[in-house]
């Protein structure tokens, strides 16, 4: 048996020279320190993405896009298809957990300042992946064609439409017409199952090799130490097995949530009924939604929502470009200006999200 494996390997090695890759993998080290737990967050996100692809493909076997068929096919999946409820529930829970871990991964990178030189482009591709994840969430939310999703999409696309100059054409392209209708659903379907996965895969394909090429970012105090003082761990098998164990734990949490807290389908969307009370977007858009509620109808001569969305776009752009304008400082811990900026962002998002669920 072992001999046969070796034969296959050497057949391969002879043709494709895989030894350098094996060599690289076997020498790969992971720094050991008290903040190393954050190293696992990107991996968990990747695992959840793989789960999304797998369950998403399974859902495609029964889902039928269209204003007259989407909700009905979802009900069919939930009530008639064997384990349909489970696959759908895992897809919804995994989507939410994935966005959550994208944010955790992003903030941990921010607070450990791992975005600094030479990892600027890793940060930037990561930010693009975050934006794409939100796009996945927004487009996937509409697909069951229920009441909540319908109005969330109306509001979300209308916000996009309020951007000066380019807003209206973007809104028309998103909606596939003037209003949110069956045409919007087919478009969101195309975004969700074809366009976004393709683009996302390309950026994951850039993001991960960047990480491999440069290795793990080390905290400042560790980077200053000599090579012999540093504590390190082999990636294979030590870190890899820990990663695998965590993935297994996440899978179990996912199954627990999907089985005991299955996701609701809600009521079918009706374009001619009032928005129900308690309408709200998915939790990761809540802070923006809530901020828009607080902005008065008019700020100077502009409409409030225009000001709001421009501010959010500006903040997003600044966040994406953090490695290029970062404020350098000798101070450490909580007094570092970048830490303060990060905490302000975190507190703002947290407070607005909580307020969104209270009011």
């Amino acid at each position: 048996m072992k001999n046969a494996m070796q034969k296959i390997f050497s057949w391969f090695d002879e043709r494709y020279d895989v030894t350098p890759i094996i060599d690289f993998a076997s020498k790969k080290k992971v720094p050991v320190h008290r903040h190393m737990i954050w190293y696992y967050m990107g991996g968990v996100t990747l695992f959840l993405f793989i789960t999304q692809v797998a369950t998403g493909i399974l859902l495609l076997f029964y889902y039928r896009p269209g204003a007259d068929s989407a909700y009905e096919s979802m009900r069919f999946i939930l009530t008639k298809v064997n384990f349909g409820w489970l696959i759908r529930s895992i897809h919804s829970w995994s989507a939410n957990l994935m966005v959550f871990f994208v944010f955790v991964h992003m903030f941990s990178t921010f607070f450990t300042r791992a975005y600094q030189k030479p990892r600027e482009l890793t940060w930037l591709t990561g930010f693009i992946l975050l934006a794409l994840s939100l796009g996945f969430g927004f487009s996937g939310y509409l697909l069951p064609w229920n009441e909540l999703a319908f109005f969330a999409t109306k509001v979300g696309t209308d916000i996009a439409g309020s951007v000066p100059l380019i807003g209206k054409p973007i809104m028309a392209i998103l909606r596939g017409g003037e209003d949110v209708s069956g045409a919007t659903l087919t478009r969101f379907y195309a975004f969700h199952v074809a366009m976004l996965p393709a683009i996302f895969t390309v950026f994951v394909g850039i993001h991960l090799p960047f990480v491999q090429r440069q290795g793990m970012s080390e905290p400042e105090e560790l980077a200053k130490m000599g090579e012999n003082e540093k504590k390190v761990m082999n990636f294979f098998p030590n870190f890899f097995l820990r990663d695998a164990l965590l993935w297994l734990i996440v899978l179990n949490v996912l199954l627990f949530l999907a089985v005991f807290y299955p996701w609701d389908l809600g009521f079918k969307a009706d374009p001619f009924s009032p928005a129900p009370a308690g309408i709200r977007p998915e939790w990761y858009f809540m802070f923006m939604f809530q901020t828009l509620k607080f902005i008065p109808p008019h700020v100077l001569v502009f409409e409030g929502e225009v000001v709001g969305i421009l501010l959010f776009m500006l903040a997003g752009l600044a966040w994406a470009l953090v490695p290029f304008w970062e404020i350098k400082s000798k101070s450490r811990g909580l007094t570092h200006p970048m830490t303060i900026i990060g905490l302000i962002a975190l507190v703002f998002i947290g407070v607005m999200t909580v307020l969104g669920y209270i009011f």
């Binding site: 109005f151 009032p274 109808p297």
Partner: protein, 151 residues
């Protein structure tokens, strides 16, 4: 002689670069233009609706609102006091949600962002920037008829 050749060569290279670069740009344009045009949804001509019938006035409940289809647009019809009908576009001027009539406060309310209008369609509180457009309501032989004021 030699430098002549080089001048000649470099200008030829420049020419070719412009030609190839321009050709490439033209190619990118001719690929992207149809794609964006394709994504931009075509205008679907629709019959212009100028008025709709909303049933017998005597059957319409008091102090209640109802969302009606006015062509492709939703309209809210309210009866505040007996025989006193009002109709507005049901689309909130804030972010496109559909409003509802609240019996408890006798106001028009949008659940999405807590926008409040009075029964004249004026925006009272919350984020809506403009009043709701009003539609004319006529009652002819007990039949409610809603008319688009723009027609």
């Amino acid at each position: 002689m030699k430098s002549d050749q080089r001048v000649n060569g470099s200008s030829r290279r420049k020419f070719l670069n412009i030609l190839i670069g321009g050709g490439l740009l033209g190619w990118v344009g001719s690929v992207l233009y149809p794609i964006f045009s394709y994504l931009n949804p075509p205008e679907i001509p629709e019959a212009n609706v100028n008025s709709i019938k909303a049933g017998p006035a005597s059957d319409f409940p008091l102090n209640q609102g109802k969302i009606l289809k006015f062509g492709k647009k939703p309209v809210i019809l309210i009866q505040m006091n007996a025989g006193e009908f009002k109709a507005f576009t049901a689309t909130c001027t804030h972010l496109d949600c559909i409003v509802q009539y609240r019996q408890d406060t006798k106001q028009i309310w949008c659940a999405c962002h807590n926008g409040v209008y009075d029964t004249n369609g004026r925006n009272l509180s919350g984020p809506p920037p403009r009043p709701l457009d009003e539609y004319k309501v006529n009652i002819i032989n007990n039949e409610i008829i809603i008319i688009n004021p723009a027609s």
